[in-house]
């Protein structure tokens, strides 16, 4: 190797910005309250306000809407009903309208809207809108909805447009039926020494973002439609607005979506829900911005919820611990509109057998329409729900076999290169290391005894995995602009909803361009200004947008070298960057600060200039992903770009009289490929664990007889507070590089909540000998089971 290449090689090896826990670049702004959210922005004195008239019926025909009295209230600008916008929208399946047309399908559905000069007037007038319904018989239970001759929630399902990988069953309530078939089930079960069959149930949950949904739409006199929204998906929103409002003459170029900081997403702000109202209403009040802001109750009713699932599992295994067959039927209660939610059923269906190498697998994942509120994406995208059953079942199978549950999981875990149930290869991964380190951290297998005679201690462990659920061509792109002082603005369209995305993008650019992180701003999205991003979902932006930013930085670097070459005639291969300067391997004296030329270029002898503003661009689209597969077996294709694997373990103490659970210690290990910012990964582990713990122990959504939510508030829907955080949380980072990720990174966001529900159930059984097969495991559920002396709770 030449000396020149040695110098360059050394610089390439030593990562200065990647793998370091830089403070968040948006931290000070958020902590001081300087950060602006949609409701903080000023929209001027002409801002109008909206009140929605919501359906009081779970399923009914709309006979008549009388808006006459509301229209006469002084201050009311207009009253809108579904007939004003007879247009459908949806991400993966067009099954819902901007507002209800002739039928309402859940309590809380938007039926009419009052737009007024102030919120009070809108609210008063909305009460005067009279809606006459003819009730239909609703169905709230997914198993009821698929019985013979059901009441059809969507009689025209067969005519709906959808992505090619969905298989709706016309004249049923099955919106999508994902099937996976591998091997020979009969043979697989015949080979088994032990067969375990059971049913698990996970109910609905709500996202509970701190900032509720909000959107402001404005159609200006030049026919430009701008929407400010609290969203994970500005570009996808622009696309869906353009599709839905095309009959009004809008095209993509006319629509602009601006997303400032957002106060949480967790999947609930993915795609389009209520934001379509702001976009549509703006067209009725040209020149005036119009705000639609959800209350906490509306947040529960009319965004997305997490779907409920009933999992029927049958597993066969040999005495040596080899799993021979796994049959899975997941019945998802998806609500009346599944335009996004059907893909939860699809993605989790493909992975429903867990991170385990099993030769004979049969999976049926059914997306079922019901008359409860619409469900859709939520952190984990179906994996938390279906992995509760899988990891509960794995634990119980290990017990039946008399095997150590950790060894049982490791024996069957996918190694890199193993073929997944649909035939594509598994990526290299550190599952074994994750579960071993978690087991070690909680001294798994070593029995602990409480000092308090009323209390018992249990330990539980669970494996986890998840792949990004996205269309095969979901893409990210980035612009990177230098300024006169050598500072950088990165214009991307991902969303920092707490995970640290803005900081990580800056670190990636810093690494390539040797510009310190504090001299880089990553900007929040504006679809007019920033480069395209599909959505900030699927835990994919560090991986996907990280690749795009890296390419943009490399593009900028190439332009820098080109400029220096043009001015100084050094061969480009001899140039490298160090400490914000261009240097040359064959001329140690040469050092040109970036700020001297990244805008103005370099003057040469005759007084002319070379170069000009440096403007890097980069994009990333996976070119190896495909959803083309056999609808009956799912064989073929490569629907998941990679999986992130990991494990969680915890030690709990249960009060036998009260049933209360206290988490004493938690460890979670995930193979993130490369932790670009370890502190931020640790934050994902802590936050994901707590969100998982909430679903396991506290959150308990209840519905009334009419399909109404009985606790759409934090008085009775409990999410943990700081007081409920366990004393000790041990985050463990494992790094088996992802070959196509930026610096080897892969996704880590949703994953950290996935092991929690089964780990809790497994620990409860370890402590008490009681197997609980439904969520949540409330103190009451435990205490009553102990009192009743039962060993299993459905």
């Amino acid at each position: 190797m030449s000396q020149a290449n040695q110098i360059k090689g050394k610089i390439m090896e030593e990562l200065k910005y990647i793998g370091k826990s830089f403070p968040r670049i948006d931290g000070k702004e958020k902590v001081t309250g300087a950060a602006q959210y949609v409701d903080d922005l000023e929209y001027g004195p002409n801002l109008l306000h909206t009140e929605i008239v919501e359906s009081t019926e779970p399923f009914a025909k709309i006979i008549k809407i009388d808006t006459s009295r509301a229209e006469k209230v002084p201050g009311v600008v207009t009253v809108i009903t579904g007939k004003d916008f007879p247009y459908k929208f949806g991400l993966y399946m067009k099954d819902r309208y901007i507002m209800a047309q002739d039928v309402v399908r859940f309590v809380g559905e938007q039926v009419a809207a009052v737009i007024a000069r102030d919120p009070k007037t809108a609210r008063r007038a909305a009460k005067l809108v009279k809606v006459k319904y003819e009730p239909l018989t609703p169905v709230f239970d997914q198993m009821e909805a698929i019985k013979k001759n059901p009441i059809l929630i969507h009689p025209d399902l067969g005519e709906y447009t959808h992505v090619p990988w969905f298989y709706p069953k016309a004249k049923t309530n099955i919106a999508h039926w994902k099937k996976v078939r591998l091997g020979d089930m009969e043979k697989g079960f015949a080979e088994a020494d032990v067969i375990l069959e059971d049913t698990y149930h996970v109910p609905r949950y709500a996202h509970c973002c701190m900032e509720s949904h909000i959107a402001v739409g404005k159609l200006d006199q030049a026919d430009r439609l701008t929407v400010w929204s609290s969203s994970q998906s500005p570009h996808t929103q622009r696309h869906l607005f353009a599709e839905a409002l095309a009959p009004l003459g809008f095209t993509h170029k006319d629509i602009r979506v601006i997303t400032p900081f957002i106060g949480g997403g967790f999947g609930g702000k993915a795609g389009v829900t209520m934001e379509i109202l702001a976009a549509a209403f703006a067209t009725k009040v040209k020149g005036n911005p119009v705000k639609v802001r959800w209350t906490r109750a509306q947040e529960f009713y009319n965004t997305y919820m997490r779907q409920a699932v009933l999992s029927k599992l049958k597993m066969g295994a040999k005495k040596d611990g080899t799993i021979t067959a796994f049959e899975i039927s997941n019945y998802w209660d998806a609500g009346p509109y599944v335009e996004y939610g059907a893909n939860v059923v699809n993605a989790s269906g493909l992975s429903a057998a867990g991170p385990y190498r099993i030769p004979n697998v049969k999976i049926d994942s059914l997306c079922i329409y019901t008359n409860l509120p619409a469900a859709g994406p939520y952190r984990g995208f179906g994996y938390s729900e279906m992995m509760f059953g899988v990891e509960s079942h794995m634990e119980r199978m290990a017990q039946k076999l008399g095997m150590d549950p950790v060894e049982f999981r490791k024996k069957n875990a996918f190694k890199g290169g193993d073929l997944l149930v649909y035939g594509a290869p598994m990526n290299a991964n550190g599952f074994d290391e994750c579960i071993d380190r978690v087991a070690e951290a909680i001294e798994y297998g070593k029995k602990a005894v409480s000092e308090d005679p009323n209390k018992v201690i249990g330990k539980g462990i669970a494996g986890a995995w998840k792949g990004p659920a996205m269309p095969p061509n979901a893409s990210s792109s980035a612009f990177l602009k230098f300024s006169e002082d050598g500072s950088i603005n990165i214009l991307v369209s991902g969303i920092d909803m707490g995970q640290g995305y803005l900081t990580v993008m800056a670190q990636i650019a810093a690494e390539i361009l040797t510009v310190p992180v504090e001299k880089i701003r990553t900007e929040n999205p504006d679809t007019d200004r920033n480069a395209y991003e599909w959505q900030t979902v699927a835990s994919h932006v560090t991986w996907s947008c990280g690749n795009a930013v890296k390419r943009a930085a490399l593009d900028a670097r190439e332009q820098i070298f080109e400029t220096v070459h043009a001015a100084y005639l050094y061969d480009k291969s001899t140039l490298y960057l160090e400490d914000e300067c261009v240097k040359c391997t064959i001329d140690p004296e040469f050092s040109l600060p970036l700020k001297d030329f990244v805008i103005d270029g370099i003057m040469v002898k005759d007084g002319t200039f070379r170069g000009g503003p440096i403007l890097g661009k980069g994009m990333f689209m996976p070119e190896f992903s495909s959803t083309k597969s056999d609808p009956e077996t799912s064989q073929g294709g490569k629907p998941n770009v990679h999986y992130t694997v990991g494990a969680g373990g915890l030690i709990i103490e249960i009060d036998k009289e009260t049933g209360k659970v206290k988490v004493l210690k938690v460890a979670e290990a995930f193979d993130v490929g490369k932790a670009i910012n370890p502190d931020l990964v640790n934050g994902q582990i802590l936050g994901g664990f707590m969100q998982g713990l909430a679903t396991a122990l506290y959150e308990d959504m209840r519905f009334g007889e009419n399909g109404e939510i009985l606790n759409p508030n934090f008085t009775d829907y409990k999410i943990p507070t700081a007081l409920d955080i366990p004393d000790e949380i041990i985050p463990i980072i494992v790094e088996v590089p992802q070959n196509d990720g930026p610096y080897g990174a892969r996704g880590i966001g949703e994953h950290t909540m996935i092991p929690v529900m089964p780990a809790i159930a497994n620990a409860v059984e370890d402590a008490l000998g009681i197997r609980i097969k439904s969520m949540p495991i409330t103190a009451e559920k435990i205490a009553m089971a102990i009192k009743a002396g039962v060993k299993e709770v459905d």
Partner: protein
């Protein structure tokens, strides 16, 4: 918050003026102190008063003082002010233990004790300490002032003993005649703020005297007479606790709601009574967990 309901708003500067206004509007007026119940209810349209009489302009209503063996708490005294008073903490530790479980810090900074008892929900945390400390409510109407023993104050779920036109001017609590230990045990669904699914307040006084009250397990918070009768004069031991727990079903009538089933509430009331009695007696003897540490 866009409150759609329209009402007359008054902010009197004297008690006399407030009493006059209340007499004029009667039940058509609501009194505003902390507002943590009232404003939420008006916003949710559970209440639609014709008038709201804001008491915050009446200085004397902020009075909090200990004098002649009695604690006086004015209608504008917040839970935070009670909690921050060293004198209240020293003399009425059970009261503070319960007050510290009311909602969250930011709510306690606004919410008032008097507002809490006027709302009179069955789960009110202040109910059991007031019952066991045998507080009195002082009410004033155009016809003058009267004193209502706390045991007669709660008359039904969300119903108190005020007559139309009356205003509460304060709560008066006598210092117990003897040295005492107490324990408030609250069942919530997690460690964060919650409405009690069961509440038990216990005072153990020197000489084996016991006072026991429950909340959230019947239409009103109330003393447990049968349990007290059983315990009176006896030294606490496991056998006695078992006997007391057996009497719980005769004292309370818990219902099923979304927060808990009646069955779990009944079970927990027994567990909490037992642990609360032990803690109260231990605290009387200078032992046991510190006040504020939950025994469940």
């Amino acid at each position: 918050m866009a409150i759609a309901h329209e009402f007359e708003y008054f902010k009197p500067e004297s008690l006399e003026e407030a009493v006059k206004l209340k007499a004029r509007y009667g039940d058509r007026a609501r009194l505003l102190a902390g507002g943590t119940d009232l404003i939420v209810k008006i916003n949710d349209e559970l209440e639609s008063p014709e008038a709201v009489i804001d008491l915050k302009g009446i200085k004397e209503m902020k009075r909090l003082e200990f004098k002649d063996g009695r604690l006086f708490i004015g209608p504008l005294v917040t839970f935070s002010e009670l909690i921050d008073s060293p004198e209240v903490r020293e003399k009425f530790p059970l009261f503070i233990e319960a007050a510290e479980t009311v909602a969250s810090g930011s709510i306690r900074n606004r919410a008032t004790l008097v507002g809490n008892i006027c709302s009179a929900v069955p789960s009110l945390d202040s109910g059991t300490p007031l019952l066991t400390y045998e507080a009195e409510v002082i009410a004033r109407g155009e016809d003058g002032e009267r004193t209502i023993p706390i045991a007669e104050w709660f008359v039904g779920p969300k119903k108190n003993a005020l007559k139309e036109g009356e205003i509460v001017v304060g709560v008066s609590i006598p210092e117990p005649p003897k040295k005492h230990g107490g324990c408030y045990v609250k069942l919530g669904r997690y460690r964060g703020e919650d409405l009690a699914q069961v509440g038990v307040g216990i005072l153990a006084l020197e000489g084996n005297e016991y006072r026991v009250a429950f909340c959230a397990v019947g239409p009103i918070a109330s003393r447990a007479d049968k349990i007290e009768k059983l315990l009176q004069g006896k030294k606490l031991d496991n056998g006695l606790i078992e006997e007391a727990i057996k009497l719980v079903p005769e004292e309370i009538a818990p219902i099923d709601d979304i927060r808990a089933t009646g069955e779990y509430r009944m079970h927990m009331a027994g567990v909490m009574l037992g642990r609360g009695l032990r803690a109260a007696v231990a605290r009387l003897n200078g032992q046991g967990p510190e006040y504020g540490i939950s025994v469940i």
